[in-house]
Amino acid sequence: MKKSLSLYIHIPFCNSKCNYCNFVSKVGTEQEKRKYVEFLKREIVMRAKEYNKLYTVATIYIGGGTPSSLPLGSIKDIFQTIYKYFTVKNDAEITIELNPNSVSDEKINEYIMSGVNRFSIGLQCINKYVLLAMGRTHTVEDFDNTIEMIRSHGISNISADIMLGYPGQKLKVIQETLNHLIELKIPHISSYMLSVEEGTELQLMVDKGVKYLPNENTVVKMYQTIATMLKNHGYARYEISNFAKPGFVCKHNKVYWNREDYLGFGVAAHSYISGVRFANTEDINKYIDCIEGTGKVPVASAQILTTNEKKEEFVMLSLRTAEGLDTAAYQQEFGESFLAKNKEKLAFYIKNDFLIIDQAGRVKATDKGFLVLNKLILELCSD
């Protein structure tokens, strides 16, 4: 039987750049976008030759940038290539990211006709001043309209992204944003904290001291508020930054946390196949030149994980999930006991309510632990 594979497709274009964003994306011309899609398709074809024999595709995720910023017809084009060269399961989860400022009923219709059955929408916040400060060019009304359009096609699997801790964003605004999503019955919510990244507009503003960043206590309260409110409304926190109503857990994301195989296409896309991580170049021109000039896949870096690195990823990724770290699975994969190896550290973290161990021998982060998970992972991965 063929193994399962997930595909990620990176679309490095946006209608405008948000102030906090340092991902590989730009505001491209229509010509640039069409050219990029051509080469993306060539990369898909090249990879398929190698992988289609061994794998069936279980999930597809088109992310960015903003996939919906591509001209009408491009997404359909990409999917036709995928279906032609890869074997995709009938029940595959197929997600596309949207921005409320670049959608139309026509586009949504195109996506659904192409097989998309899950939509992830970047909302970030409903407060118009915060949206303005973020450099986002949509309103909460645009978001509401987008949801309506999607639902009119009979699709209910929708996720919304929200950000916490943006300068000027108050706890009250977070509560309002969540209430709005709960009322709209959005079944999946991703929430994550602002991180001020190098080379962003936001960093410049923070360096100048212009912007006011919410303090640590406020951000902690924001996260706790989200966790509590969503729990009270029937959402489960199945991962540190993801909440879902029953039946709406994102399958594609779970592939990452479970260290299963996935292939990334496009600039800056990452892949993980049989213990090897590799990534494409981050430069669009190099990406195109490489495919055009050499007919080869533009891989910029590759890393065969050592056993130790695999252990670290096991810890790092599994502790993010509600299921936690399965000590039996750890023992089976690495032939050593996670509990014995970290006896003293675990005792300290459990005593101080950062972690718990359940009956099934799973180590899980508590509410308090999730907030300092990076630190816990660092400690558990150091000697």
């Binding site: 992310g63 991703s190 602002l194 206590n217 902690v220 896309a269 990452h270 999730f370 990076n374 630190k375």
Partner: protein, 597 residues
């Protein structure tokens, strides 16, 4: 056999950027000691470090030949270092000369720092030739500068060459004046050997080499020599001069400057200022010898604990060429295995740590510098303590004596107030103030050594806009109310952060350290109290709050690689931290303590 009549031994004295090295280069070019091709600018400063800091540390003599009025002259240039840490070495180098060339910048004029060395030269009865340099600069004012030299130092400037060493203008005049004005050596080849050691260095093949000025007598390969002060006896293997490469000679005679190689194992066996004589035919020792003792001590530890052996090897190698460096193994509960090292001063300490890091590729933690205290215990025992961790409990101490200095501070009168404030603040006791010239005073203070090892020199320069200079000599020990200030992290004493301080300064310092540590100690999953304490009494306290949150980020495919990298980086950072009980301390924490005023 050299002709003393035709020999001149001199050094060059100059303020830091007044052109000493450029002038030395030009002199070597004119005398064809080096030719254009092998020339590397400023040949005398041989170590990179010196080049970067623009200071000369190592003394590198050179012998030049020059024809003047039909006769060939041998000119020996002995370079001098330019920092207060090395005052004694400078004085021995000057003692090897009959004259000195004082280089003064034609636009800057006489600078304060130069003067300390000028006075040192005058003390050694050297003939001083003023030379006005940089006359090519548009801002040059040679006549005014000449007047300044006459006023301030009292030298006759009527024959002073006006030169541009950079452009090579009138440089030859300097050679002529040296020959005309500086007295020839007046030694006697037939007297017993009497040679002054003014420096030493280590050669990988020949071992430690003495740099000497032959005062009387002669020395050649095979001569059995004795170092009078150290009492050590050696057979000479080779003698020679510097051109500036070492060039072997049959014999060195009275008046000569050169080297003696005698299978000496390390430079520690060679004491600068010592007199070399011949076994069986001994001379009197030359005056002015002092045993050079370290004045500042500091713990040096590798940041990565497993580099201890590399550090040990590196120190051994440095010690071969630097006799003033001393070290003994030391263990700290916070920093692990390392060494307690003694230095001539803070600059010397900087140079050594920088060389260790640069030449031996080590990352180091240096603890706060300390001086050596005499501790009288109630049971009659007397200890020398330079490491705060070795201080006995207070109840066992009858009294502590600290090393004192007699400091001479030279300055224009307008800075007298600021200088006296500084000295008072540093527990100085005023002794005297005299006018040397109309606009030059000398202030004498008795100061505790511990008070000047930190940043006294920098402060002095800053309050006097660079005009004040300092020289000092050790002045015995004095009883003082010194206490041990401990720093506690999460209730545990961090031995590497302990200090011996005067009781009056303990509060201020304790506060400054705890405040600084609060900034640099990374937050952990629990609260960390930082305390400064004298014995059981806490005198300052700060708290590092517990970490409450990291950044929670979405995790998509590409992010795993990002997270991997971040984790690697953090782990690398952790490796450089020192674990003290339950608290992790970055090496910067130790460094930052050094930077508190």
């Amino acid at each position: 056999m050299s002709n003393q009549e035709n020999t001149r031994n001199f050094s060059i004295i100059a303020h830091i950027d007044h052109g000493k090295s450029t002038l030395a280069d030009r002199l070597m070019e004119i005398t064809k000691t080096i030719d254009e091709r092998e020339k590397k600018d400023q040949l005398l400063d041989s170590m990179d470090l010196e080049r970067e800091r623009g200071i000369t540390i190592k003394l590198t003599p050179v012998t030049m030949k020059y024809n003047y009025q039909g006769k060939e002259y041998t000119l020996n240039l002995i370079d001098t270092p330019g920092h207060v840490d090395f005052t004694y070495e400078v004085s021995r180098s000057l003692a090897a000369c009959e004259g000195a060339v004082l280089v003064v910048d034609a636009s800057q004029g006489v600078e304060a720092q130069t003067l300390a060395n000028v006075y040192l030269a005058l003390e050694n009865d050297l003939f001083i030739i003023p030379v006005i340099n940089k006359i090519d600069l548009p801002s040059a004012r040679p006549e005014e500068v000449k007047a300044e030299i006459e006023d301030i130092i009292g030298l006759d400037t009527s024959y002073a060459p006006l030169i541009s060493a950079k452009e090579g203008k009138n440089v030859e005049d300097v050679l002529k004046v040296i020959i005309d004005k500086i007295p020839a050596p007046k030694g006697d080849d037939n007297e017993p050997l009497q040679a002054l050691i003014f420096d030493s260095y280590y050669d990988n093949y020949k071992g430690a080499i003495c740099l000497v000025r032959i005062v009387n007598g002669k020395v050649k390969a095979g001569t059995k020599i004795k170092m009078i002060q150290s009492g050590k006896i050696y057979d000479v293997v080779e003698v020679g001069i510097f051109t500036p490469k070492t060039t072997e000679k049959d014999v060195l005679t009275a008046g000569d400057v050169g080297y003696i190689s005698a299978s000496i194992k390390t430079v520690s066996d060679i004491h600068v200022g010592d007199t070399i004589t011949e076994v069986g035919r001994e001379c009197k020792p030359l005056a002015g010898y002092k045993r050079v003792m370290p004045v500042v001590y500091s713990g040096i530890f590798p940041i990565e604990g497993d580099k201890y052996n590399l550090l040990k090897d590196a120190l051994e190698k440095l010690k071969l060429s630097d006799a003033s460096l001393v070290y003994t193994p030391e263990t700290s509960s916070a920093l692990g295995y390392g060494f307690r090292c003694g230095f001539l001063g803070l600059l010397h300490m900087d140079i050594i740590t920088e060389r260790l890091e640069r030449e031996f590729n080590l990352d180091l933690i240096t603890t706060a510098p300390s001086v050596s205290y005499k501790v009288y215990k109630t049971n009659g025992e007397v200890l020398e303590v330079s490491n705060p961790s070795n201080l006995p409990p207070m109840q066992e101490i009858e009294k502590i004596e600290e090393p004192m200095l007699k400091a001479n501070l030279y300055s224009p009168p307008e800075y007298a107030g600021a200088i006296m404030d500084l000295c008072t603040n540093r527990r100085g006791i005023f002794e005297n103030l005299t006018y040397l010239e109309e606009n030059r005073i000398k202030i004498v203070y008795e100061l505790p050594l511990a008070e000047i090892v930190y940043d006294f020199f920098d402060k002095l320069k800053s309050i006097s806009h660079g005009y004040a200079s300092l020289d000092y000599e050790q002045n015995g020990y004095k009883e003082s109310d010194m206490i041990k200030l401990d720093i506690l992290l999460n209730g545990e004493v961090c031995d590497a952060l302990s200090l011996i301080v005067h009781r009056d300064k303990a509060y201020e310092r304790g506060r400054a350290i705890t405040e600084k540590l609060k900034e640099v100690v990374p937050r952990q999953l629990f609260e960390i109290p930082i305390q400064a304490a004298i014995g059981n009494k806490v005198i300052a306290r700060e708290t590092v709050r517990a970490l409450r949150k990291d950044v929670i980020a979405k995790c998509y495919g590409g992010d795993i690689s990002r997270k991997r990298k971040l984790l690697e980086k953090q782990k690398e950072g952790k490796k450089r931290m020192r674990k003290l009980g339950s608290v992790e301390l970055p090496s910067e924490a130790f460094m930052s303590i050094l930077k508190i005023d």
